[in-house]
Symmetry: C2
Subunit: 371 residues, 2 copies
């Protein structure tokens, strides 16, 4: 007999949550043979699991070890005993399975086969799953509106912004957004990007210090629902004060690029095609992507990624991904252009792929806001 | 030549952060040979890494692959090329190393050796590290004070609490705590427990619905500093209204048990000894730990765990851990007693182990607060 085996936690591996619909922070065991799903976990979790987990059988590891007379049972002892009970010889595991445990299982004669992804079905979302993502999206939009209100109410003195007498910083806006997200049961697990001016050209930098007047402020929000565990992802770029003609042109080019991409998103199109349409358009408009003064500038990242129980999942929307999109994929489309001296602009929506096109889950305005 | 190899992210494995002092969300490569530390990562991260990472050499994977003419390089291609450059044949990896990558490296002739823990030094904290934990602790205490103020100001009607005209719930207090933590740059990554009455007997349940008057309310806070990445952990149990004599006795027994344990914590004592002193005391006082009506009741969990860059790390303070504490270990001491009908009480402090005893990092009152 063959079985799928996961030994991890929902916190560490969303596949574990997807398989069991149970949130557990400590390592637990999931075994699936055919349609039979078994969840083995600590006695402290067994009660809660009986109420919440969507599996056929729940095993209390302490009670099981006692019954089986396993002394000071290590994970390998418990796992191999469970597999033997089920007469399983061949095990399917994810590629990031625990190396030591894998080797120990092999030593005991089990045959391991890596499957990646473990649950391809996770990447095509049901209507109910899309509803979960939309719920997060709406809350993010409320919070972003409130954050922009603060930037709007701030006053420009020199190059800086002042709000309620204090210099307005990236940190302050980030704190506000994170705190408001949490009030809405959305956790900014991987934080929120609020960066302005040249800082935004380091696309993985969260932003720090005073926000700059008359320059682009990128706000990238990507929280997870504490309830449903689904994420959503949105970026807007705004200006406090006046955007220069160059910045306006940069903004409108990114927006036009995003529109072109959104227009071709549908089942049967590849991530590479979507990425290319933007990349070609930017070049046509005169925006090169290349190393300038020792730093990559232009469209320096891929176009997007899947969103669901994980914030970055397949399908990736970049130059090398030739796999065709399927209806039910939920992806981001987030082109950006970044040039030192001019700053960065990124516009990002999360959209659900359909047979005919895509459903934009974001309802937040995209014209350039000069607040 | 032999080298330590990590292929993961700081978000997924705190050892990666410990080794590099660099926060990276996407998979990256860390190689250490002797004192030489090398960090290989995406071109998007290389710039930030040059400023922030505490390593000897930073390799931009894209530039490296181009130089080495690796086409569409997979992780295994990049890793094995890097190892070959360094003339490394033997690799030390953590037990939870990626199974597929481990097998692929073996196929290419590398010899793998598992080391666990990878950095034993992580468990004995420097003064600077303890300072980071204390900083989180102080912020938690501020927030807890404010949360208790809300409970204090609420009014009892029947069995429920009303605050500003609304029924006060576990969710409401949790949202308040989480949101206030974030304002202080502390992320409640794994959420906050606010549960009252019988709900608190499910020790891994976060609590939901109306808080109950005249019954024990457990508040367990464990955020991570967004800046330093260190955690702290504290639990207090309070009552809104009046505690019954039985509940008072339960509370005072838990508190006395904790005091007994704290009195013996020092370098050279084992987790098992600390756990036993509490367990024996509870039994002496007439509080049994056993299954009652199909549910484990009493002191149903271990006494504590290490705290640092991870919220639950070694040394574990429980019946089976005979390893002796060392000066610099930072641990929680968190006995609890839980009985359906009476509710649950848990009192938890995070303390730093010294040669002579321990330094309690918590400064929050521990007498029973009837608010």
């Amino acid at each position: 007999m063959k079985a799928l085996l996961l030994v991890t936690s929902s916190a560490r591996d969303v596949d574990f949550y997807y398989a069991t619909k149970f949130w557990v922070e400590d390592p637990a065991i999931f075994i699936q043979t055919g349609k039979k799903k078994i969840l083995a976990l600590s006695q402290y979790e067994a009660g809660r699991a009986k109420k919440e987990a969507e599996v056929g059988e729940i095993i209390d590891i302490q009670a099981y070890s006692k019954k089986k007379r396993l002394k000071n049972p290590s994970m390998i002892k418990i796992v191999s005993s469970l597999l033997q009970d089920l007469k399983i010889a061949k095990i399917v595991v994810p590629s990031d399975f625990n190396y030591q445990l894998g080797k120990d299982l092999e030593k005991q004669g089990f045959v391991l086969e890596v499957k990646n992804p473990v649950f391809p079905g996770r990447l095509t979302k049901s209507k109910a799953e899309i509803k979960c993502i939309v719920a997060v999206q709406r809350k993010m939009e409320e919070v972003l509106s409130e954050a922009l209100e603060i930037i709007k109410k701030s006053r420009i003195k020199g190059k800086l912004l002042y709000y309620q007498g204090e210099i307005l910083t990236s940190e302050e806006i980030r704190r506000f957004i994170n705190s408001e997200l949490l009030k809405r049961d959305c956790m900014p697990v991987k934080d929120t990007i609020t960066s302005s001016s040249d800082q935004a050209c380091d696309v993985h930098f969260f932003g720090s210090g005073p926000l700059k007047a008359n320059s682009a402020i990128i706000i990238d929000i990507f929280p997870r629902s504490l309830k449903t565990k689904y994420w959503s992802d949105m970026t807007r770029t705004v200006v406090k004060g006046k955007a220069s003609p160059e910045l306006k042109k940069l903004y409108n080019t990114v927006l036009a690029g995003q529109k072109k991409a959104l227009a071709i998103v549908k089942a049967g199109v590849s991530g590479a095609e979507i990425d290319k349409i933007i990349r070609d358009f930017f070049i046509k408009e005169g925006y090169q992507t290349k190393e300038i003064k020792g730093k990559m500038q232009g469209f320096v990242h891929g176009t997007g990624h899947g969103v669901g129980l994980d914030i970055h999942e397949e399908p990736r929307i970049h130059q090398e991904n030739r796999i065709l999109l399927k209806a039910g994929n939920v992806i981001t489309v987030e082109p950006g252009l970044y040039y030192l001296g001019l700053g960065g602009v990124r516009i990002e929506d999360t959209v659900a792929v359909t047979e005919e096109g895509c459903l934009n889950l974001a309802k937040f305005p995209k014209q350039l806001l000069e607040l």
